[in-house]
Amino acid sequence: MRRFLVMAAAAATLACSLAAHADETLVVYSERREPLFVPILDAWTAETGIKVQLLTDQAQVLTERIVAEGDRGRADVMVTVDAGNLWHATERGALAAIRSPLLDAAVPEDFRDPEGRWYAVTQRARVIVHSTERVQPQELSSYEDLADDKWRGRLCLRTSKKVYNQSLVAVLIDRHGEEEAERIVRGWVANLAAPPTTDDNAVISAIAAGQCDVGIVNTYYYGRMVNRQGPIPVAIFYPNQGAGEGGVHVNVTGAGVAANSRQPELAQRFIEWMLSEPAQRLFADIDFEFPVNPKVSPNAAVAAWGTFRPDDRNISSAGRLQAAAVRLMDRAGYR
């Protein structure tokens, strides 16, 4: 019996030690992976003395949460990867429009919501990677070309469940119409050398190991792998650089002020800070991504991959067509 009482007392102590305490701080809801975001937040706190409370989860969960929390919400800023997620957050009314000359100057027009509800803070390029041993760069041209028969049994792709592929296909729909986009995706599926992988690393590893010859990945996965393992027999190719081919598919991590923020000025200040040159440099160095602010040049390792022409349409179009892209990939049998 005494043991039960001791256990009850221990439970009560635990419960007390867990009691939440509130603070006057900036609350950030974020889908960006913590290890890639915490250094930025630490730098902000070091510079301004304002603490940040971070809540990470899936973008849609955070969106629904902001909507459901209403006036009782505590979020100030929402940060999420992918234009589709940002577009969906605006559709659900989770983000407030802001006016900021500072942000308008720092963020190119294609990388922000026309109404000012979100602004990109970093950009990531989704490119073709190829084996340096079995593929010459001249053989490659565009995402569309990977549907060609000559890549039969040589292509590796990540699962269609990943939002990066969804927005890439959304762009294909935007550019070519649904019918042609489906033909391209079916071509990809027919060319697969292995079942779709769960992440981009596996695509690069598979090319390095010889399972396939070409694949589509975000550049920073390549950067990370080279950083860890040293040189690998895989290289980056910037596709769709020819006239009329659009350009490299670029996606963003974006931030917006939560619609129910109680301190929108502070939230806006934080976003402006993230787009300032020092913070942008930090973003550029932290994970091989491309800065959004044109005044900041990419990290040296990233710059060594060369320059490219990004897709010229506003990335929010990808968001609008994302659900259509998911359905298209289901129909085409891209798992």
Binding site: F4, E34, Q60, P195, T198, R228, A323, V326, R335
Partner: protein, 565 residues
């Protein structure tokens, strides 16, 4: 129902006293006949308490109800044509395969360690429980890292053979089923082993003297006798399989759960996702109904006072037993740990963050263990008073959260709690905030894992002979004395098993914790998720190892504290 709790001794010691009669569903003391008005009053109070126990789950369902009732005419034709047929088929196939695998492996190991004697039995007796400490998503990412084309195994093969062709591809239903089986067979092992330790051979012997062949006696007598235990363990394994997300998505298998995720996160339709999730809930209810039916048809067996004889294995049999279980442990435990160690060695160490996460993990594990056991005790003791079918249904319903995918459940609960908060604010109680507090997290874990607490407790209750309590009453022991001196000591193994099982499950849980945790508050599972989702397996290895080590401590406690003494 015999379940995890009736594991009186994982040592070879003598079976302790109370486990004399093996009953399937027998309450420890039957509800005395009452006059009609009092009976009605009692039924009402049971209903009230049962509803209270169901409240968190009902809150979660209420949170989803808004979405559920929203018509989504545009998504469903697509789901029906391109997603559902395959997802449903895969889910059923996966459950069938995992069920079969767990039955075979769990029962075989239980037979070897409960009924046979061979060198090394005492070691294997607890060692085969070790895979319980490994979360499925960890096993999955380790398996892919090891067996993928670019992994060490196939790379070595290519170097040796000079061929570029892939040996195999660690994707698809078969791999997912195999890995889930390796994670879930301990449930069946625990329940079946507990029964085998006490079940006599007299029925089988009787059948044999009546002319049955050994094989026929096994099918007609032994298996039916084991059925309640098997079903109890299988129930946990199958509900886990139904709600599984991490491992199946890593192996690229489309199931109902992954379809729910895709519908919400890819097609941006929470309504359709909620509707899709209710199919999963229906399947879980169906499983429960089957479990009930199977147990209702078979309520009680005569027990045996003597511990059954162990069969001494011949040298050849012993070698086979050791090799088989050794191989099982190698694949299900040693190999994953070795790979994790290799990755952790090459990854950058961030000890401080992991330590904070460990502290949080242990705290919610311990707290929910105590909380769920307390509620579980209440529920299980209510069961014996639940003569009305509606009450029994309610009590069973309270534990249904075990079969709902964690994210859907947590989303429902989050929305439900927010609704409740704004409702309270509407009546002037605006100061109450639950979201982002540990209380909200506890609520989610309660809904998700209550079943892991009630089943062992029900099993422990089922072991008690009503006559013991009658005898105590005859000897003049009052109610308090009977509870303190008889009930609680007899329940001790069940309470410990339930608490530790809940703690192990809670510490491994990811999606609900992710969604309901307080701001800036990490558990090990959440940290693992943050790395694995980006394929950063080297970085995920260290928190995974710490999580496994914590689980091992809990399993060690489970084994040690269950020993009589």
């Amino acid at each position: 129902m015999p379940a995890i709790a009736d594991t009186p001794a994982l040592s070879a010691g003598p079976v302790p006293g109370p486990a004399l009669i093996l009953t399937a569903d027998e309450p420890w003391a039957p509800a005395p006949a009452l006059p009609r008005p009092r009976r009605r009053l009692r039924a009402c109070s049971v209903t009230a308490l049962a509803l209270l126990a169901c409240a968190p789950l009902l809150l979660a369902l209420a949170g989803l109800a808004g979405a559920w009732l929203t018509p989504v005419s545009d998504v469903w034709p697509h789901l029906l044509a391109h997603v559902l047929p395959q997802a449903t088929g895969n889910t059923l196939l996966l459950m069938a395969a995992v069920g079969l695998g767990c039955t075979v492996i769990g029962t075989a190991c239980a037979w070897l360690n409960a009924r046979c004697d061979y060198p090394g039995r005492r070691l294997f007796d607890w060692a085969v429980l070790l895979p319980l400490a490994l979360p499925t998503y960890v096993v999955a990412f380790v398996a892919i890292g090891l067996f993928d084309y670019a992994g060490p195994l196939q790379t070595l093969w290519r170097e040796l053979s000079g061929s570029r062709a892939a040996l195999f591809s660690p994707h698809g239903l078969g791999w997912a089923a195999a890995m889930l089986t390796l994670c879930f067979y301990p449930y069946v092992y625990l329940t079946v082993r507990a029964v085998l330790l006490r079940q006599g051979d007299d029925h089988v012997a009787a059948a044999r003297t009546l002319g049955m062949s050994p094989w026929r006696a096994f099918w007609r007598v032994r298996l039916p006798l084991l059925r309640p235990a098997l079903i109890a363990g299988l129930g946990l394994a199958l509900l886990e399989t139904l709600a599984e997300f991490g491992a199946v998505s890593l192996f690229g298998v489309d199931t109902l759960t992954t379809a729910v995720y895709k519908t919400w996160f890819g097609l941006y339709s929470l309504p359709a996702a909620a509707q899709l999730a209710s199919i999963g809930l229906l399947l879980a209810l169906l499983l429960l109904a089957l479990e009930w039916r199977a147990r209702a048809r078979q309520r009680q067996y005569g027990g045996q006072r003597m511990r059954p004889e162990r069969q001494r294995l011949s040298t050849r049999q012993a070698v086979l037993a050791i090799a088989g279980q050794g191989l099982l442990l190698l694949v299900a435990f040693v190999l994953p740990i070795a790979q994790l160690l290799a990755w952790a060695g090459s990854g950058a160490g961030r000890g401080a963050a992991e330590l904070a996460a460990l502290w949080n993990t242990v705290r919610i594990g311990a707290l929910s263990g105590v909380l769920l056991v307390a509620v579980g005790l209440l529920l299980v003791s209510l069961r014996q008073h639940a003569t009305w079918l509606g009450n029994r249904g309610l009590l069973a319903f309270a534990t249904m959260g075990y079969g709902i995918p964690g994210t859907v459940l947590a989303a429902g609960l989050l929305l439900g709690v927010l609704m409740l908060e704004s409702g309270l604010a509407g009546v002037g109680l605006g100061g109450l905030t639950l979201t982002g507090s540990v209380a909200a997290l506890m609520l989610a874990l309660y809904v998700r894992f209550l079943r892991a607490a009630t089943e062992p407790l029900a099993a422990a209750m089922g072991q008690m002979r009503p006559s013991l309590f009658d005898a105590a009453r005859c000897l003049g022991a009052n109610r308090w004395c009977r509870i303190r001196r008889l009930l609680l000591p007899l329940l001790r193994p069940g309470v410990l098993a339930a608490g530790l099982l809940v703690a192990i499950e809670v510490m491994k849980e990811m999606p609900a914790t992710l969604m309901m945790r307080p701001f800036g508050w990490d558990t090990l599972a959440v940290r693992i998720y943050a790395f694995t989702v980006e394929g950063m397996w080297h970085e995920a290895a260290l928190p995974s190892l710490i999580l496994v080590a914590t689980g091992l401590v809990a399993i060690w406690l489970l084994v040690r504290l269950q020993e009589p003494g």
